[in-house]
Symmetry: C2
Subunit: 616 residues, 2 copies
């Protein structure tokens, strides 16, 4: 029994009980499985072109919908073969972006990191031969001869004579770009690592990469320790301004978080931190500044000017980052005060800057960044509206962790899925979006977001068991998702009228941002070839619910895709390839930032986008 | 009554009692006066072309000799006008090199320091205008736009937003080369300073320069605090190798010495250290390495390889140098393991690399460096033979400080001049060279350096009062220069047979070095246009005595000149001019190092040079 992946054109033998995802992985065919193959996201989506497969699982129906399944879509992690089959890996984007990280020869970016190692056995020289240790090394490593540009770091230079002496002239030179950044005794050419970071306002993720093979050796994430001083960017800026040592504290905390992740991934992979020579960093402009210990003061007031936007490189020891002392920290470039290197990362990873099809990318983290366009023109904007989706300002809101309701179906009654299959603790962003979408469909709230009154409920045909779930506590009206007896702490998990309003503000801001970009490019939703949801939230989000509540334009489901942590992937690409770094520079330089707050049209669009779309 | 300086072509009014040096200085005509106008050196030598002057002083006769005076030479610091006169400033070299440091428009190197300041009043920008603080500054300061080359130091970047904010957008940008290295509130464009250093094995000198006018604002020197660990380069290298913390100690000591000098010159001139933005450094290769905290381990063993030779730049804060944190420390390039940036400085200051006349420069410090040639080819070598001239290994040797015998005349009896006109404490290098020259002429020692025996003395016509000064103490034979009753401590100051041998070794090494360079270029002493004595010792040295003992070739006196601290002057030129820095690079790259120890011819030349020339 064999399966053929359309892109590969070769049939692969399938063992019994293997899922399509298993087969793909063992055959070296890369399919994204962001949720780890648990049927919780649509990143491993495939389209069946021929052959018979096991029937769709409950998860597949939830994620893809009956429509999607009817049109031949399946999740590779859930699907097994019944006889020979032919499938297409969709979305092509994941194919492209993840291929890069494979060791195969089908990489769009060839493996071309700025870090290189060269083992050198230095020849003995004579006194007549006018030279120096560094000149000998330069000649052997192929660095260009001196023309006034400094090529060796002081601390590397300081170790030259002793290392050469103690290693009996058998050494390994560590090069970064055209600089000698380290000198190691003996042959260490097999240990060359880098770590790609995505610094989110809430979460920081680091990917440890073997720079010889391009392979990912580990990934670790931590909460951004700055969160103690405020959940969103504006509260961090305020803290930096108002507390005399605020900037210092915020800076120290992110450095600490980064160092913890470095320690974690290196320990997991069993490698020495001193063999990590480059760290790439994407993050929003405020995270960028705080990481570099630059006051974000200007980011808090119009015209929201960054201190610097272009790619910036610092030696690790200058910032206390615990890798090789002269390893380089590469800050990818920024687009504007509120459109940061994370957005550059999204564009780089999705290849929007090289495509001809009109693509919309929406990255909803603590902030929401939106990019629209083609290789000919990209426009971007930012909305500070994401915290509701991370559980902030929502009565029982919480992050997407164990105990969070992440999927909700409301039909005759309410069915909730809880992460970790434990009693519910609260509700996370994807659960909230599901809930509101289903409350709209069930008639519990109207298109303005208002809870229907008693007499309206019957008119709207709301089922009795649902009506029983609507409670009033003084002036507070709420809908009970999970009764207290079923929750972890005995408190019911509810959605209040206020929660609905918070969601309306959040989704309204994002939709209004999208509207502004479409206006700027004079584009109608139908013109779009693809809508990409980036980031963890975008990944777990039910796209039909997102369309239902009007968070994103109502594109056909097959045009909407979750692309995982595209920002982080962009960071990885930059780590692996000098060409990708240059493309990042180009993206940052050419992507046009559309300032929203200044435009009266935005206020209009925002007001309009607050309402929910009428039901289909 | 007027005087005309030939080079200036204009008559200058002379006030009564003004020396020619006074007149020159008040008229802005630069004449070197290394000894401070005390008639102790020949740096202010002039040639009388017309007019009547006061008769020669005793000092002039000592320094210039009757011959020199007969040929019209005088010392500007000693000479006053009797009626209108015309003089030529000799040597032309000092004219050239010191002009550079004047504020006149006749500078060979135009004032073109790498440090620049630009006052900026930053315009308000709009949110629509995609920019950053740094981009605004870059545009206003005329830095080139970003093409991948980093243009701003992290700590400068870190201060941007707050400085701009608190100074209400009225700021001064500090630029070094094409980098933004600092940002200051308000208009500080009038405070732009640099310090040029010459790090000697024994003495460190710093010159504070106003980089707007090129004026020298102050000079300070200190003993190199490393001397505690050894007087010469080899003993420092040994200490660095044998003591585990040796390198660290030596490094810390030189940083400390440099910081003391910075403090001293800045205090003298009443300027803020934070307004010093560049420090240039010349020194021998070992001093260069110890300053940068690079192990000198390779300098101690063949092939005596430096870690790096090319020009090297470090930010002040990286080394703990207390100027502006991101001010630049510019290490001028080296030629070889024992021919350092000090020699590059000598060549740069004397212009040997641009002249067509064959010039020999001898810089005798703790080491002796020698350069010979023309713009077409320069060869250099080094001899580790200078400590005797600094008083080391000499029975009553001492540095040229108060109490040191620095001039000796032996005729019927011995006449000594003591620095500071105090009772003698010992003898310094110039006194030693005088003594040996005079002992030769008086017949006390023979051409082999041996004290003449009793019966030989009479034959040689040695005067009775001199014979009485020759004593024997056991096997030790010595010559008494100053009786115990006339010295500071009651001990006589004597020259022993061993002292003569030490001097022979020292002067033999230098002469042999000169010989090797002449052989390399196939040159005879008569081919030389000029012999330049650089360094403090060369400055105070009586050139006739130097010729008499065979320290230098027997050129006619007018061809021999002391040029003062040429290495330090080279350091100043590099500070003042980017062009001079490039010339220094060129000098270091093209000057050919002649390794002496490897060559059997050197041993022959050395053996031959140990003897003294026969009397004239």
């Amino acid at each position: 029994m064999t399966i053929t992946f359309e892109s590969e054109q070769t049939a692969v033998e399938v063992a019994p009980e293997q899922t399509v995802l298993d087969v793909a992985h063992s055959a070296g065919v890369n399919i994204i499985a962001t949720c780890g193959g648990r049927g919780r996201c649509n990143s491993c989506r495939i389209k069946v072109l021929a052959g018979e497969f096991t029937p769709p699982t409950e998860q597949e129906i939830t994620v893809l919908g009956h429509d999607g399944i009817a049109r031949g879509f399946r999740l590779a992690c859930q699907t097994k073969l019944l006889n020979d089959g032919l499938v297409r890996i969709v979305p092509p984007i994941s194919e492209r972006s993840f291929r890069i990280l494979s060791a195969t020869d089908r990489q769009e970016y060839s493996l071309d990191p700025d870090v290189r190692k060269r083992r050198l056995v230095l020849p003995e020289t004579s006194e007549e031969h006018q030279s120096s240790d560094f000149e000998e090394i330069r000649a052997l490593t192929g660095l260009p001869t001196y023309t006034g540009k400094q090529q060796v770091d002081l601390s590397a230079l300081q170790t030259l004579p002793s290392t050469i002496f103690h290693a009996s002239r058998d050494v390994t030179a560590v090069l970064w770009d055209h600089h000698l950044i380290g000198m190691e005794a003996g042959d260490t050419t097999e240990q060359v690592y880098g770590i790609a970071f995505d610094i989110g306002t809430t979460t920081v993720v680091g990917y440890l990469i073997d720079l010889r093979s391009g392979k990912e050796l580990g990934v670790a994430s931590e909460l951004n320790a700055q969160a103690l001083y405020g959940g969103d960017v504006m509260s961090r800026i305020t803290f930096a301004q108002q507390d005399e040592t605020g900037l210092h504290k915020l800076h120290q905390r992110i450095i600490h978080t980064i160092n913890r992740i470095i320690e974690k991934v290196c320990e997991q992979a069993g490698i020495d931190r001193e063999h990590v020579y480059e760290v790439t960093i994407v993050g929003n402009t405020c995270m960028h500044h705080l990481f570099l210990n630059i006051s974000p003061i200007h980011l808090g007031v119009a015209p929201y000017l960054a201190a610097i936007r272009e790619r910036y490189v610092v030696a690790a020891e200058e910032l206390g980052i615990q890798i090789a002392p002269r390893g380089r920290i590469v800050m990818l470039p920024l687009i504007a005060g509120f459109v940061g290197a994370d957005t550059v990362g999204v564009v780089l990873a999705t290849g929007m800057h090289k495509g001809s099809n009109i693509t919309l990318a929406v990255d909803i983290g603590t902030n929401g960044e939106i990019v629209l366009g083609t290789k000919d023109r990209l426009v971007a904007c930012s909305t500070a509206a994401g915290t509701a989706f991370e559980g902030a300002q929502i009565t029982h809101g919480m992050r997407g962790a164990t105990g969070a309701i992440d999927r909700v179906v409301i039909d005759d009654d309410v069915q909730c899925h809880v992460i970790g299959e434990v009693p519910a603790l609260g509700i996370c962003g994807s659960g909230l979006v599901d809930t509101i979408a289903q409350m709209l469909d069930a008639g519990i709230i109207n298109a303005n977001g208002r809870f229907r009154r008693e007499h309206e409920l019957e008119q709207a045909g709301v089922k009795p068991r649902l009506r029983e779930r609507i409670k009033i506590d003084g002036k507070k009206k709420y809908f009970v998702l999970v009764e207290g007896r079923q929750t972890d702490n005995g408190e019911p998990v509810v959605i209040t009228q206020q929660d609905v309003r918070e969601l309306q503000l959040a989704k309204g801001a994002i939709f209004a941002g999208i509207t502004m970009l479409m206006q700027e490019l004079n584009i109608h939703p139908d013109d779009m070839t693809e809508l990409l949801l980036a980031g963890a939230f975008g990944n777990y989000l039910d796209t039909r619910s997102a369309v239902r509540i009007g968070l994103i334009p109502a594109l056909p489901p097959e045009k909407i895709r979750s692309v995982g942590n595209a920002a982080g992937l962009g960071s990885q690409l930059a780590l692996l390839s000098g060409k990708a770094k240059l493309e990042a520079d180009h993206i940052a330089k050419t992507t046009q930032h559309i300032a929203l707050t200044n435009r009266p049209e935005f206020q209009v669009a925002f007001a309009e986008a607050m309402a929910f779309p009428e039901g289909l």
